[in-house]
Point group: C2
Chain length 202, copies 2
């Protein structure tokens, strides 16, 4: 096959692929607020949620964030989002949750307060996206009943997008979700003795 | 078991987990620039990279981004990062790549130009993180030789973090990487006839 023939074949193949994609996209006209779940043991669950926040901000839309689990460190994302108080409403509710605390009652109270914030954001008129960060962890520990959380999610504004993050998403949440992505750890530097690094892990 | 006993048991269990985690973290003192790969068919590969950008910006660090594949739409992330010209250097190189074009020679030229930009950023003194967005796609189409790309990555500033995104990461890149996450699609709204939505897909 000559170089000209090869270029022609490549061009025809690409044209076919493009036509198929155009048809597919044209058939998808549904519009509704999506419930997204980022789960799995790999990295990128919360990080991909921050990417969606950036996307919304780029379109000039408002975002609500409830962090159900507060990490030990001041994170880069929290410092960054704090610069946009008119566009990002961020509530950090978990008071040193899970392994950092040894007080189940206090954890449950913090989870309840976080859910109340989430309920408010999910019915507010002005958000494009609400991130419920590490909500799956709270469900996993049994700090909130799944049925109640599902009811809060179902009662959200119909055009509002919601992202729930955290490993071990319960089957009932996966069932209710529109899009579920599992982050799978293929290779991790902790295994090679590399520590958590600024701007990567936090 | 009484409520008091249960609370005590919970507290002891959590204390054991915390002690184990503290020991583990303390043993991880390595510090080096990581090569991260986000691959898989699921969503969140580029989005998680934008989350890492946010994290870096929150720490006041500079970020370089080379987009090897230019999408059809103006994306929210591009609009947002353009607001921080002193902190984010963004180059969109792919000129309507892959299925949008039917000109392999032009695609290869665009890929070469993008790699030259990447090489410059990877050896520059001032970046904390460089994102090579959709580089895997370019490798998959054979527009750039893997060996050359790996050499460029290996020659980067030793303390620079790099994220490579795109499905079908080649095995040689996975081998070279420190951390590889595969985004697996568990459930996708396109299947349910929901179209691409502003602030979610772009």
């Amino acid at each position: 096959m000559s170089a000209t023939e090869e270029a022609l074949r490549h061009r025809e193949k690409k044209a076919r692929i493009k036509a198929a994609k155009d048809r597919l996209y044209a058939s998808r006209t549904g519009r509704k607020g999506l419930l997204l779940v980022h789960t799995g043991k790999g990295k990128g669950k919360s990080t991909a949620a921050w990417g969606l926040v950036v996307r919304a901000l780029g379109h000039g839309r408002r975002v609500g964030i409830v962090q159900f689990v507060k990490g030990r460190r001041q994170t880069g994302e929290r410092a960054f989002f704090a610069r946009f108080p008119e566009l990002v409403e961020l509530r950090v509710m978990g008071e040193g949750f899970t392994w950092e605390t040894q007080d189940r009652d206090r954890d449950i109270r913090a989870a309840r307060a976080a859910l109340a914030e989430a309920r408010r954001m999910l019915t507010a008129p002005d958000f494009h996206l609400v991130v419920l960060d590490e909500l799956n962890i709270v469900l996993r520990y049994g700090y909130l009943p799944l049925e109640e959380v599902l009811a809060v999610l179902a009662a959200r504004r119909p055009d509002l997008h919601v992202v729930v993050t955290g490993r071990n998403a319960p089957p009932g949440l996966v069932e209710a979700a529109d899009l579920v992505t599992e982050m799978v750890e293929v290779k991790h530097p902790f295994r090679a003795g590399i520590g958590a690094q600024l701007g990567i892990e936090y």
